[in-house]
């Protein structure tokens, strides 16, 4: 693997891996709390947020996009809570209504607005643009990793996604005990004085940060898949939460790397001369891993819950 790999494959693979890990980590706890839909909801409502941010600012710069996406996530959470209370509808249904409606609204807005001169369309929202996040300045191959000029031209998404993944990993380690305790037994956690509501909100915010940071680079397909597939597969492989979280990181990494490689070279190996969507292939690989875990995992008794959560 030489210069070409570093230029064209290294950065998309790393970005995909960081995005997958950032989503899989909170996904572990969301699944155990039967809140896996929240990841789904957040990754959908990001679209109208980004479109509105674009309409207001006229750019697709990172900061307005992130603020728009974050704002939309906030609006969605408030709407879900309001519908649940006013309409007395169960949370899952309220979430389903809100995120599909907001996503649909985002699609309409996108269609009506003039986004032809920027890379912002429904396809991008779903599948991201992982293949375009290449590192052209890395002409010296691996030596470019030590070249400050080349490093300065890394795609912005790489440091952003790396920081998001590192932040979420650090939060997971720091709040491991309260997260585990309040996920396992909320009543007991409250009784010993843990701020259970704040922990739950923090988890949702961490999931939102992962979804928003990942969305731009890899699209909502990967985000949704990574919230659910690696943690659910990991749950079927072990009965220890710590091992489950480590395994989910492993499965997320495997999905990202294998998915990207398969998307780029798989069709060639089969004799076709085109490549397929990396985002689609990464999500598919994660689904295949979950399927294998369902069939062969040692703790697959809970398949129904994991798949339906």
């Amino acid at each position: 693997m030489g210069a070409e790999f570093v230029q064209f494959s290294l950065t998309p693979i790393l970005i995909g891996t960081f995005a997958a890990i950032a989503c899989a980590l909170p996904g572990n706890f969301l699944i155990l709390r039967r809140q896996a839909l929240i990841g789904d909801a957040i990754s959908h409502v990001v679209l109208p947020g980004i479109v509105v941010a674009f309409l207001l600012t006229g750019t697709v710069a990172a900061l307005p996009m992130l603020l728009g996406a974050g704002g939309a996530a906030l609006v969605a959470v408030v709407l879900i809570e309001a519908i649940r209370r006013v309409g007395r509808i169960e949370p899952g249904a309220a979430m389903g209504v809100v995120f599909t409606a907001l996503f649909a609204g985002g699609v309409l807005l996108l269609e009506q607005s003039d986004t032809s001169r920027v890379h912002l369309d429904v396809e991008h929202a779903l599948m991201g643009n992982l293949e375009t996040l290449i590192w052209l300045r890395a002409g010296d191959g691996w030596a470019s990793l030590a070249d400050p000029v080349a490093l300065a031209h890394l795609p912005d998404e790489l440091p952003r996604m790396a920081v998001a993944a590192a932040l979420i990993a650090a939060l997971t380690v720091i709040f491991w005990r309260p997260l585990k305790l309040s996920t396992f037994d909320e009543g007991f956690a409250r009784a010993i004085g843990l701020p259970v509501s704040a922990i739950g909100l923090g988890l949702v915010i961490a999931a939102a940060v992962a979804a928003v940071a990942a969305f731009d680079a890899v699209g909502s397909i990967i985000v949704i898949a990574m919230f659910i597939c690696p943690p659910a597969a990991a749950r079927l492989m072990t009965n220890s939460l710590a091992r489950q979280v480590w395994l989910s990181v492993g499965f997320a990494t495997l999905s990202a790397v294998a998915g990207y490689v398969l998307a780029g070279y798989g069709p060639l190996w089969l004799g076709f001369d085109n490549a397929v969507s990396a985002a689609g292939m990464i999500a598919t690989v994660s689904g295949v891993i979950l399927g294998l875990a369902c069939l062969f995992g040692p703790h697959r008794r809970r398949v129904g819950v994991a798949a339906g959560a």
């Binding site: 155990l32 585990k180 996920t183 396992f184 009543g187 007991f188 409250r190 010993i192 009965n239």
Partner: protein, 271 residues
Amino acid sequence: MTAETLTLAATDGTATAAGLDPSSPLAVRGLTVSYGEKPALFSVDATFPAGAMSAIVGPNGAGKSTFLKAALGLIPAVSGEVRIFGAPLSAARDRIAYVPQRASIDWDFPTTVIDVVLMGRYRKLGLFRRVSRSERAAALEALDRVGMEAFADRQIGQLSGGQQQRVFLARALAQEAELYLLDEPFAGVDAATEKAIIDVLKSLKAQGKSVIAVHHDLSTVADYFDHVFFVNVRAMGEGPVDRAFTPGALAQTYGGRLAATHLDQLTLAGG
């Protein structure tokens, strides 16, 4: 909602908590809890004795569990005040051990028996302190007291209902508290577990600890408990079992829901 925000003030500005017995492990005044429009508990007063075993008794839906949860601040109260050994809840967390209903959690959670018991040491361990040998020993001893030491490394999903309940009790023992609050500890457990649990609770009492349990089996109230508190949305009476556990109190608490044949089978005060 914290206990402080619930504190009522009398018209002269002094906190009415002054009227609550500071020696009582759990004293409650004017506790009102509402789910939606209908109150689940309405202006409940109760004072539990220290160093005794107390039962909270009442029909289904009378607010027994709600009473415990509101006293612990797990659900918000509309009004009322709670004192634990005379102190507000926030200052007394280390003195309370709580055993929730077994059915309230998902037993397929990926964790082991010893891990669950170690959760009882959380307030001592905090975020980062390593689980030392002595912490682990304390957890194993708690498991030993409920006869579950051999199951320490077992996956919790593999336990029977009775074993689950014993693990919950072991976690409460690991908290080394002075007041033990249990929500239906005998619900759906086998006879051996019921015996094991009651033995542990009696040994706690012998050590001077206070035990308060939501209890649904009227036939064992007189055998197991010293003190009884009747509740059916409102407080329906309280006192030592040998004086307060009367047909009249039961009839008043349960309305028409207790058949006379049930009453015949009970060990009742003055009977």
